[in-house]
């Protein structure tokens, strides 16, 4: 691919959008960092004091919620890989000329508001609702059995809400595999298992990586699923941040927790990228 020589043009193209991101994304992050180091209260105002206590207090008080968020995020991401991979695989290799129909069906949920979908689940799963009501009257599950207000409900909701973001990148990676490579392997008497493990799986990894990136972050920081589907003891760090910001107006603590969450996620992503060594693979995939 040939590229035009550098000139002023790219900068002019970049300027308005870049400025928007600088003012409304980069600077706010910095403002938040500053807020997290301030002390005071709503009535008397906040002053910048290099107050590290918000971090210390926030993390000690809400350490359970932080750990829980990471655990929920991780489990839901793993579930999504397990559920999503076979689907992506089947569509990529067996979808034939109907691939686009299947992809379209996978994207259908995005046409309905995220909040509405989650509330719809709450409705569907309620203790005597459309699912459990009949099961209970048939005596198939005990009377006091419930799905809502459990960890399982929250994790299930997270897995549900972000699943398409997992399937699509894996599908793209799989679809890019040149069929001739697979044919060559077959001609060389590779078994089906060998083909899968030695060719398909490694080549799908960039897709899995992208999928994890697109699902783990929103799942870990989500608060809608926990507050709609969860109960006592299912609060995630997102709920705490939202509470501190919007309800307590304890901006320093809220900012400190946001920053902790951001740092945690960034470190997670980098460690994950290093462990998989996907940086090079991605460069190849991006071409």
């Amino acid at each position: 691919m040939s590229r035009l020589r550098a000139s002023l043009t790219p900068y002019l193209l970049l300027f308005p959008g870049g400025l928007w991101l600088a003012i409304f994304f980069v600077i706010p992050t910095v403002v938040m960092l500053s807020l997290s180091l301030q002390s005071g209260d709503v009535v008397n105002g906040y002053v910048f004091t290099f107050n590290w206590h918000s971090y210390v207090d926030g993390i000690t008080t809400y350490h359970d919620q932080i750990v829980r968020s990471v655990v929920y995020g991780t489990i839901s991401t793993v579930i999504q890989i397990v559920i999503g991979f076979p689907v992506a695989y089947w569509i990529a290799f067996k979808g034939g000329n109907r691939k686009s129909i299947y992809l379209f069906l996978l994207l259908l949920p995005f046409l309905v508001s995220f909040v509405l979908r989650t509330i719809s689940w709450q409705f569907f799963l309620s203790d005597n609702g459309m699912l459990l009501g009949p099961l209970k009257s048939l005596g198939l599950v005990p009377e006091d059995f419930h799905i809502l207000a459990t960890s399982a409900a929250v994790i299930g909701g997270l897995a549900y809400n972000f699943l398409p973001f997992m399937i699509l990148p894996i599908y793209v990676a799989l679809e890019r595999i040149d069929p001739r490579v697979l044919e060559a392997a077959q001609d060389l008497y590779a078994s089906k298992t060998q083909i899968f493990l030695r060719i398909v799986l490694p080549l799908s990894l960039p897709g899995v990586f992208a999928g994890v990136l697109m699902t783990f972050v929103p799942a870990t920081s989500d608060y809608v699923n926990a507050s709609v589907l969860g109960g006592t003891g299912n609060t995630m760090i997102g709920n705490v941040i939202q509470n501190q910001f919007l309800i307590n107006q304890d901006y320093p603590t809220a900012s400190a927790l946001s920053f902790t969450l951001m740092a945690l996620l960034l470190v997670g992503i980098f460690v994950y990228a290093k462990a998989l060594g996907t940086e090079d693979v991605l460069e190849v995939a991006a071409r």
């Binding site: 994304f25 689907v87 569509i91 067996k94 509405l116 989650t118 459309m130 989500d222």
Partner: protein
Amino acid sequence: MKGGLLRGRGLQIYTWLVIAWLVLPIAVMILFGFNDTKGRYNTAWQGFTLKWYGKLFEIGDLTQALVNSLLIALLTMVIAGVLGSMIGLALGRYRFRGSGAMNLVMFAAISCAEIVMGASLLSLFVTFAVPLGFWTILISHVMFSISFVAVTVRARVMTLDSSLEEAARDLGAGPWTTFRLVTLPMIFPGVLAGSLLAFALSIDDFVITNFNSGGTMTFPLWIWGATRVGLPPQVNVMGTLIFAAGVLIALVNGLIARRRANA
């Protein structure tokens, strides 16, 4: 690859099951838009009716919230569409100092947790005493959509051959003419896809909007608030109509693409 690596049938059924799982809550939502509920709560099935379609706009605030959502989504689509496409074009076509930093900021914006983005933007608005409302929502939506449009357009640009543009220039076309007649048509599918994505992201956004909305309501915010007393059936109907419109746009878009491919 005849026969496949795994038994095809089983996987096909499995795929359909997953699709069914994904669509199930939507089916529930559509169904209860036809529920003949007596009061203002819509929880138990009480018979089939079409009356809620007739009373769709009876709740003024809900209608206003939907109008706000649509308006913000449209404006976001246009603004983020244009600004994001420009970034995408610059990054995909040119090699220049600073492109790495731009890529990094965009990556950060895409992978940043929504709650962190919403909260930090609120802290900016709070610090500089910017009144919250329609415009702050729009600003935030454009902010998080730009990067998605940009990466989409960049990917499209990178698959294209720039020799066509060079040829146009060799034939005496000015930069603007070249852009209008050659570049734009080539990257247009990317621009369109990116803009539609921006629209979808905007109309569905809850977390960031919740932080920066002030007294202004959007559709998802209204729904969230209304859970205090139960959702009226009109919400189901509006959800159903938005869903139907989305399906329709996708179908039409698909038909046009197919006709073009056949032509």
